[in-house]
C-alpha cells in the first residue's frame, strides 16, 4: 500500500511537493484527475494512479493538456471533485478551453495544478503561468512549502465550490521536485455520486446546461464571473496561508510567495535581520487581498519583492500602493525593476542574500573568498564541463545520423524543424545540429507545413520535421492534416520510441496500456497517417543505411506530405533497459584513429557515451560500464574496427 494513503493518526511522511499535492487532493476527496506529462509535474498523475483503486479515482494521461482540462471539467460538471495537472507550457495549450470554462463556471470543485519551471531546468522556456490567472479571471494560489502544498488543496477545492469556478494552484520545480516533512490529515469516506444536471434554465448554476456563450451579452456570464473574483478576493483577506513573520513595523517588508518565501526566510535568518525585516508570504496571489496588503504596506517604508520569474506580485502590489497612497504614504520598492533581483532564471537564497546585503549595506560571504577562488581554479582544471547528449543506445542519435546524412547527400539545403522531446537535442552537437527551428509541442510539423508552401517565393529546399510519438497525438496531427490538405511537400519523421520517454514513459494514445497498466486500444500511427493521405514508410533507426535510403527516396520523389516512422524503443524503456543486444569491442589494430580516412568519426562526431577516445593509445575503445550494446557504432566505423557479437 502506498504511503500516500496512510490513514494512521498523526502520520507524517517525507513527501515531494508533487506528492503533497496528491495527498491534499485525496484528503479533499478528489474523484477525477487528468494531465499530460511534463517536468516538473509528471509525478502527480503517477501518484494518483498508484492509489486509484483504493481511493476509487478515475485517472488518465490525456492526449494533451487541453483535453486533460476538458476531462476534468466533465467531472466537475457532474458534481465531482477533479484536478488537472500540467507544466507551465501546458497551460498555453489548455488556455483556449480554460478561458471558456472560466466563463461557464464549474460545479464540483475543480483545480488546475500548474508546475512552473523557473530557470527552465527541464523546459525549453521559463514562461510562467501566473499571468494566466489574470487573463482567465480565476483565483490563483501558491503554496509556500511542502505542508502547505498538501493543506492548500482541500482549501482550494472548497474555494472552487464556493465561487463555482476553477481555481489555479501554482507550484514550481523547487517545490514539486523538493521534499519535506508533511503531516497527514484524515482521508474522507464519502462515496462519490455523479450527475450532470442540465435540464434547468440557461445560466442556472445548479441545474442549467454548462455553456460558455455570451455573444453580444457580456453581462450574462462575464458579470457573474467578475463577481466570483470579488468574492474570492474577500475570502483571501483571511486566507490562513497568507502569513506574516517579523516585527510589527519592519524597516523592510519582503513580499514573497511559493519557494521564494523559503529563500527569504533563510536569507533573513543568515544575515540576522529578523528584528528589522518582516516577511509577508502570500498564498493568494490573484486576486490580491487588498486590505491585508494595505495593512502591511502601511507599517513599513521599504518593500522588497521576492518572486519568480516575472515581476507579477511587484506590479500588482505597486498598483495597490498607488491606489492607497493617501492612507499608507510613499514607499520605496526593491525587486526586479530596481535591479536588486533578476527577472530571469530561478531565485535562490544567495540572490536574496545579495539583495538584502545591498539594501542594508551588510557584507555577506558564503565561504572565505580565497578558499572559493582556490577550489574554482581546481574545478576549472580538473572538472571538464558536462554537456548534454543522448543516452548510450538512444535511437535518436542514430535517427539524426541518418537524417543528417540524407540531408547532406540530398544537397539542396534541406533542413529539419524541431519539436519537443529528448530529440530537442537535434539542435545541438548531440544531434549533429540538424534541427533549425524549435518551438512548442507539434510546432515543428506546422512550421514545416508552412515552409513547404514557400516555393513561389524561392524557398524550395526539402523541409523535414521531427515529432515524437506522444507529440504526434498531442499536437502534430493537425499540422500533418494541414500539410496533406494543402499539398505541402514536407517529410515528417515520426520518432516512435514507444512512450512519452523524456518524462518517464507515460503512455499515450498509441500505447497498449493506460496509466493504470490496463490494456487499452493502441492507435496505430502508421495506419492513421496513411488514412490521412500521407505516403508512409517505416524504418528501424538502428538500420542506418536503410533509414537514410528511405528518407532520401521520400525527399526525392514523393509529392505532398510524407511520413517516415522511425520505430525503436527508447534505451531506457522497460523493454530495452538492462538488455544488451550485442557485445561490442574495438579491434585496436584496425582502428584508424586520427589518421586520414577516419579522424575519429565514432568518438568525435557520433559521440555515444559508450565510446571513448583513448588519447594515449590513439584508438577508440568501448566503456563497458556505459555501453548498452546497441551495436550501431559498428556501422559507423569506416575501418570495420568496431565489432559486435550478438549476446546469446
Amino acid at each position: 500500500m502506498s504511503y500516500l494513503i496512510d490513514e494512521g493518526k498523526n502520520a507524517s511522511h517525507l513527501l515531494m511537493g508533487n506528492e503533497a499535492i496528491v495527498r491534499g487532493a485525496l484528503e479533499a476527496g478528489i474523484n477525477v484527475a487528468a494531465g499530460y506529462p511534463g517536468t516538473p509535474s509528471s509525478e502527480i498523475i503517477e501518484c494518483f494512479s498508484q492509489v486509484a483503486k483504493e481511493r476509487n479515482l478515475y485517472v488518465e494521461w490525456s492526449t494533451n493538456e487541453k483535453v486533460a482540462v476538458e476531462v476534468a471539467a466533465a467531472a466537475s460538471f457532474a458534481g465531482l471533485r477533479s484536478l488537472c495537472v500540467m507544466k507551465q507550457n501546458g497551460v498555453n495549450v489548455a488556455s483556449d478551453f480554460l478561458l471558456h470554462l472560466a466563463s461557464s463556471g464549474t460545479r464540483g470543485g475543480m483545480i488546475l495544478v500548474t508546475c512552473d519551471d523557473p530557470g527552465a531546468l527541464s523546459s525549453v522556456n521559463e514562461g510562467e503561468s501566473r499571468l494566466f490567472a489574470q487573463l482567465l479571471e480565476i483565483p490563483l494560489l501558491e503554496p509556500g512549502d511542502f505542508q502547505e502544498a498538501k493543506d492548500i488543496i482541500p482549501w482550494a477545492f472548497d474555494l472552487s465550490e464556493k465561487i463555482r469556478n476553477i481555481v489555479m494552484v501554482r507550484s514550481v520545480t523547487r517545490l514539486s521536485h523538493a521534499s519535506g516533512n508533511v503531516h497527514f490529515g484524515p482521508l474522507p469516506t464519502r462515496v462519490a455520486k455523479a450527475e450532470f444536471r442540465n435540464s434547468g434554465p440557461l445560466l442556472d448554476p445548479e441545474t442549467g446546461p454548462m455553456i460558455a456563450m455570451i455573444v453580444g451579452a457580456p453581462e450574462a456570464q462575464h458579470g457573474p464571473q467578475q463577481e466570483k473574483m470579488k468574492r474570492a478576493a474577500e475570502i483571501f483577506e483571511t486566507c490562513p496561508f497568507n502569513t506574516y513573520t517579523g516585527p510589527a513595523t519592519p524597516e523592510l517588508l519582503i513580499i514573497t510567495s511559493s519557494a521564494c518565501s523559503l529563500y527569504s526566510q533563510e536569507a533573513v535568518s543568515i544575515l540576522g535581520l529578523g528584528e528589522r525585516v518582516g516577511i509577508l508570504k502570500l498564498a493568494t496571489t490573484w486576486p490580491l487581498p487588498q486590505r491585508l496588503l494595505k495593512k502591511h504596506l502601511a507599517a513599513t517604508p521599504k518593500i522588497l519583492f521576492v518572486e519568480e520569474v516575472a515581476p507579477t506580485l511587484e506590479d500588482h502590489v505597486k498598483v495597490v500602493a498607488a491606489e492607497s497612497g493617501a492612507e499608507i504614504g510613499v514607499k520605496t520598492f526593491f525587486g526586479k525593476k530596481s535591479g536588486h533581483l533578476p527577472s530571469l532564471g530561478e531565485l535562490n537564497p544567495d540572490l536574496v542574500l545579495m539583495a538584502l546585503s545591498r539594501i542594508f549595506a551588510v557584507p555577506y560571504e558564503g565561504a572565505p573568498a580565497d578558499f572559493s577562488a582556490a577550489v574554482k581554479a581546481l574545478a576549472a582544471r580538473y572538472a571538464p564541463p558536462r554537456g548534454m547528449t543522448f543516452c548510450p543506445g538512444c535511437p535518436h542519435r542514430a535517427s539524426y545520423w541518418s537524417i543528417n546524412n540524407a540531408l547532406k547527400l540530398d544537397g539542396r539545403g534541406g533542413f529539419v524543424c524541431g519539436d519537443i522531446g529528448c530529440y530537442v537535442m537535434g539542435t545541438m552537437a548531440a544531434g549533429f545540429n540538424t534541427c533549425k527551428t524549435l518551438h512548442a509541442m507539434g510546432s515543428g510539423s506546422g512550421i514545416a507545413s508552412g515552409f513547404g508552401k514557400l516555393k513561389q517565393f524561392g524557398v524550395d529546399q526539402p523541409v523535414l520535421s521531427v515529432c515524437g510519438d506522444s507529440t504526434f497525438f498531442h499536437a502534430a496531427m493537425p499540422a500533418l492534416a494541414n500539410a496533406i490538405h494543402q499539398r505541402s511537400p514536407f517529410t515528417m519523421l515520426l520518432m516512435d520510441n514507444r512512450g512519452t520517454a523524456m518524462t518517464g514513459f507515460q503512455p499515450h494514445p498509441g500505447s497498449p496500456t493506460n496509466v493504470l497498466g490496463e490494456a487499452t486500444p493502441a492507435l496505430d500511427m502508421e495506419k492513421i497517417c496513411r488514412a490521412m493521405g500521407a505516403k508512409v514508410e517505416v524504418s528501424d533507426p538502428f538500420d542506418l543505411e536503410k533509414t537514410r535510403q528511405k528518407l532520401n527516396h521520400l525527399m526525392e520523389y514523393a509529392d505532398g506530405a510524407k511520413v517516415l516512422i522511425l520505430r525503436r524503443a527508447c534505451a531506457l524503456s522497460p523493454e530495452r533497459r538492462g538488455k544488451k543486444e550485442y557485445e561490442v569491442t574495438v579491434d585496436e589494430s584496425r582502428c584508424r584513429g586520427e589518421d586520414c580516412g577516419c579522424n575519429r568519426i565514432c568518438t568525435r562526431i557520433f559521440g555515444c557515451p559508450g565510446l571513448i577516445w583513448d588519447g594515449e593509445k590513439k584508438v577508440s575503445r568501448i566503456d563497458e560500464i556505459i555501453c548498452v550494446g546497441c551495436g550501431v557504432c559498428a556501422d559507423i566505423c569506416p575501418a570495420g574496427a568496431i565489432l559486435r557479437k550478438e549476446v546469446a
Binding site: 531546468l121 521536485h177 519557494a259 523559503l262 535562490n348 558564503g366 578558499f371 571538464p384 558536462r386 557515451p609
Partner: protein, 204 residues
Amino acid sequence: MSDVKLAKDPYNVIITGVGGQGNVLVARLLGGMLAKKGFLVAIGETFGASQRGGSVMSHLRISRLAVASPQIPRGRADVIVSLEPAEALRVLALYGNPGTMLLTNSHPIYPVGVIKGELVYPPVAEMEAAITQILPTAYFIDATARALALGNSILVNIVMLGALGRLNVVPFNREDFQEAIALRLATGQLAINLKAFDEGYGMV
C-alpha cells in the same frame, strides 16, 4: 524522536553525481531515514537532465527547528557526497567551505566533451592531491570498482551511502538503512544492497 545532536542546524548535505548513477535514490533514502528519526528534512533536487548524462545534485537540509529552503546557500555545505570525482569538485567550488567534509567516488564518468576528445579529464589522483592540499577532510574511494566486484555498477550509490555511514556525521546507521531500503526494493535485492552498504562502510 531520537536525541542525536546535529553539529549545526540546519545541517547541509549535498549528494551529487551524473544522471543514471542513482543519486536521487541516495538522497531520498537518507531523507527518509532522518525524517523517521524526527528531523525536519528538506530535499531539493535537480534531475530534469538526469537521464541525459548531465550533472545531478540533491540538497539535503536537516534541522530540529524549521523547514529550510530546498536550496543550500553557496559555501554552506557541511558534507558533500559525490558519486563522481569531477562533480565533487564542481559542487565543492560552489557550496564548499574549508570545514566541508568531502566524500567522493574516485571513478570518473567522462563528460561527452572528453569522450569526443575535445576536453581533457586529468588523472583523478592529481585532482585528489590538489584537493587534499586545501581541504582537510576529503575522502576518495573507488566505489565503482567495489560495486563491479559485487556484480553491478549500479550499486555504487549504496556503497557510497555505506561509506557516509562510517563517517558518522549524518545521524543514521545500518539498521536505519536496512529499514529504509526494505521499503523501496523487492526483498530479493535486499541482501546485495546491504552487502554494498557494508562494503562502503569498510572503505573509509
